[in-house]
Symmetry: C2
Subunit: 458 residues, 2 copies
């Protein structure tokens, strides 16, 4: 399997265009109404959280913060954007937007952090005007990237250390595919097939070949699999991975070793009963002397199928559809809620027994062994909750201050390493693939009832 | 509900950047190997089709062709793209890519056409080199856009003529959201919240307001819903739609009419038992004299929830999550297969009883009443299958010839109108929301066995 070398830092960039229209119209009409009556300038605090995890999931993975910071920096209105909003906004609002740059503060959970129901994963503070404009874009990124990373982390756990290649681009919107590759790498995948993710995010690239390449090597209707394999080996070296299931898989393995020799890097099986075939192919390869040739499997793999292949001689998994669709949970269901106006907590309904308004912070409490016990939310400015003999780790870090991105934010590789550590810190049942409750209870300081179990949190 | 006027044609554009890296690495390594042994220049024919519809769906909706034509036109390698592929490709291949433009032919089903298992919805013909490079990007677009349009069409049917607003941007990747808005409009939605879809695709814009706007109008912790409503009406006019469920919905409706008068455009209900609340709010509005005020409902609506509200006094539906996630089927599962090399059919396995290789065309056969009876695939160049007393309509139209986009391709509005006609032409059971078989059988000319029911088609 060919791997693209990691790019130089100067190569890693992203599309420099404005992100200002990647939003809902009502964010702008609310702005207009609030500018007109002066309320637009009130200091506000918005929070992003998920009311619940996808059905039966035991944890969620925060992803997208790096993309948010970039998207907020590009959230400005040039002439093309102003021409669109001028169709429905008054002149005063259009003029206000002409000079707009976000000038507030953003704190967030690090990428690679786990989240649970109610975790305040993002805090956005500034005037109502500047905070409300970011709502749609912030949610698009967090809901997408976290959904994919959350599914990917379960697949990586199921693979138990074997190599994972993300190859789902063709099953997702072409730009979503790039973000999926990034989220999968964050979650522990080793490489992606997506070249734009290689360029933009520095994810290692990988690839094998398709059935079309073998079929191309047909002369007068007669297949010539050996010719296809020889051509691939000649171009890409014996370390390449040959796709052996276009015709008969036993002949395919024989032809592969004939073309590449016993030093062949790998063979890929993309159809059939992968467990049975992996055993059969392993025995055949070993019998031919290709004992170092790796077996890559692909084809409708999800975390359950990956886990089911644990006992088989599989060296790498190629995962597509289930990764880019979040394995049944394609969006994370996060919301962006106004929680404070001019220092006073607000909330949607007045009938709650327990107030959840107000800017919050969160700590995760762990035993000395490292195992997480619970996550506790507390009002910003209040003392950190007493943790008795537990270690408390603050979960929110500064990301934007006065509109400027904070220096030395965690990188994508930092996020990948953090998630790996976080998964080890879960209580043992947290990594089970079966449906269950959140692995870590989240509660409000002073309350004993976990968030998400009662009526208190909406 | 404010509506953005349709843009002038000159406003409708799209990102002009290269699409060449929105692809899988193996498309390029296969190219390198095929250039080296000369097979890259063989004339090939690739086809896109879905082996099956999503579980229980009765039809699929083709969407994305307009985006494909645009993306293919931008598929070229400038210096930034060449710098990435030069990391893993040999010099000869990089030089070849420097001059690359697709120069082949593309035929496809019109956007808004229905598809069924095996329907050859896209035919790409040219050298292996130029056709293989387009695989990933073409599939990304068709799999995404068709999945969304297919779900959206069911929602539009369920709404039975009531106004539908797409508002799912925050639940999808930010660029996917733009394509979702386009696909939803194609499928019969009336408007979108997404401003970039307004700009790029000319979809009508719409929006109401959020709970945050009402919460913002809080003084010293005391809610002032009337102040929020007055501000919105002052800025957007009495035709606006007020969100009435932030606090108590009965007070909300009272406050809304107090702020706007009986000429209020609409009220939105975003939570609770929407059917019960719609009846209650209708009675209250009528009692207040606001008999023309429309009721908009939103909040976790899918096609089943929409259908369940048919008997209630609901005027408009706002649909988010279920739309952008394809209501359980977020990707269409289409594949891009090599079917012919130098005029000779090829196929993945030699053991099929019945050949499915070769470039295909398709006709849909209808009774004089307009009701579709079946879809018949036939080998390109063969006579159109005998239709007895049925009318036969060719489904593939030329889209690209010699690398140039054909003039006068159907517009997005053409696609919308075509789909509306197509849905009327389905057998009556085709529009049922319940799980079932494809509404129209698809078969190969000369065969009686429908595609997708046996082993003959993979």
């Amino acid at each position: 399997m060919a791997t693209v070398p990691a790019p130089r830092a100067s190569d890693i960039g992203s599309d420099a265009s404005s992100t200002a229209l990647l939003t809902d119209q009502y964010e702008l009409t609310m702005l207009e109404a609030a500018l007109a009556d002066g309320s637009a300038h009130r200091q506000c605090s918005f929070e992003v959280f998920a009311r619940r995890l996808p059905d039966g999931r035991r944890y969620g993975v925060v992803a997208g913060m790096g993309r948010i910071v970039d998207a907020v920096a590009r959230f400005s209105f040039g002439e093309p954007e102003l021409a669109v909003v001028a169709r429905f906004l008054d002149d005063a609002t259009v003029q206000w937007l002409r000079d707009f740059r976000f000038s507030g503060d953003i704190d967030g959970y690090r990428e690679g952090e786990l989240y649970f129901p109610g975790s305040p994963i993002l805090s956005v503070r500034g005037t109502f005007a500047e905070c409300v404009l970011l709502e749609t874009l912030v949610l698009s990124i967090l809901n997408h990237d976290s959904a994919i990373a959350s599914a990917a982390a379960r697949m990586v756990s199921a693979a138990d250390g074997r190599r994972m290649i993300e190859m789902g681009s063709r099953r997702a919107h072409e730009e979503s595919a790039v973000a999926c590759a990034r989220a999968a790498y964050l979650a522990g995948f080793d490489a992606t097939s997506n070249l734009e993710a290689v360029r933009r995010h520095g994810v290692p690239g990988a690839g094998t070949s398709a059935h079309a390449f073998t079929l191309l090597h047909t002369r007068d209707g007669v297949p010539d699999e050996v010719a296809a394999f020889r051509a691939q080996v000649a171009a890409l070296g014996v370390g390449t991975t040959l796709l052996v299931d276009t015709y008969d898989i036993t002949c395919g393995v024989e032809n592969a070793v004939a073309a590449a020799g016993t030093g062949l890097g790998g063979v890929r099986i993309d159809s059939g009963d992968l467990g049975v075939l992996a055993r059969q192919v392993r025995a055949q390869l070993d019998g031919l002397g290709a004992t170092g040739t790796r077996i890559v499997v692909s084809g409708d793999l999800d975390e359950y199928a990956i886990a089911a292949l644990r006992a088989e001689p599989v060296d790498s998994y190629g995962v597509g559809t289930s990764l880019v669709t979040g394995s049944g949970a394609p969006t994370a269901g996060m919301v962006y809620k106004l929680v404070e106006v001019e220092g006073v907590p607000v909330e949607k309904r007045s009938s709650h027994k327990q107030s959840r308004g107000g800017t919050k912070r969160a700590v995760r409490l762990s035993r000395a062994s490292g195992t997480v016990v619970e996550e506790v939310l507390y009002r910003a400015g209040a003392p950190v909750p007493d943790a008795a003999d537990l270690e408390a780790r603050e979960l929110l870090i500064p990301m934007v201050r006065g509109g400027s991105v904070v220096d030395d934010l965690p990188t994508l590789d930092d996020a990948r390493a953090l998630l790996a550590r976080n998964l080890v810190s879960l209580p043992w049942e947290g990594l089970k693939l079966s449906h269950g409750e959140p692995a870590v209870p989240t509660r409000f300081a002073g309350s004993v009832e976990p968030i998400g179990t009662g009526e208190g949190w909406r």
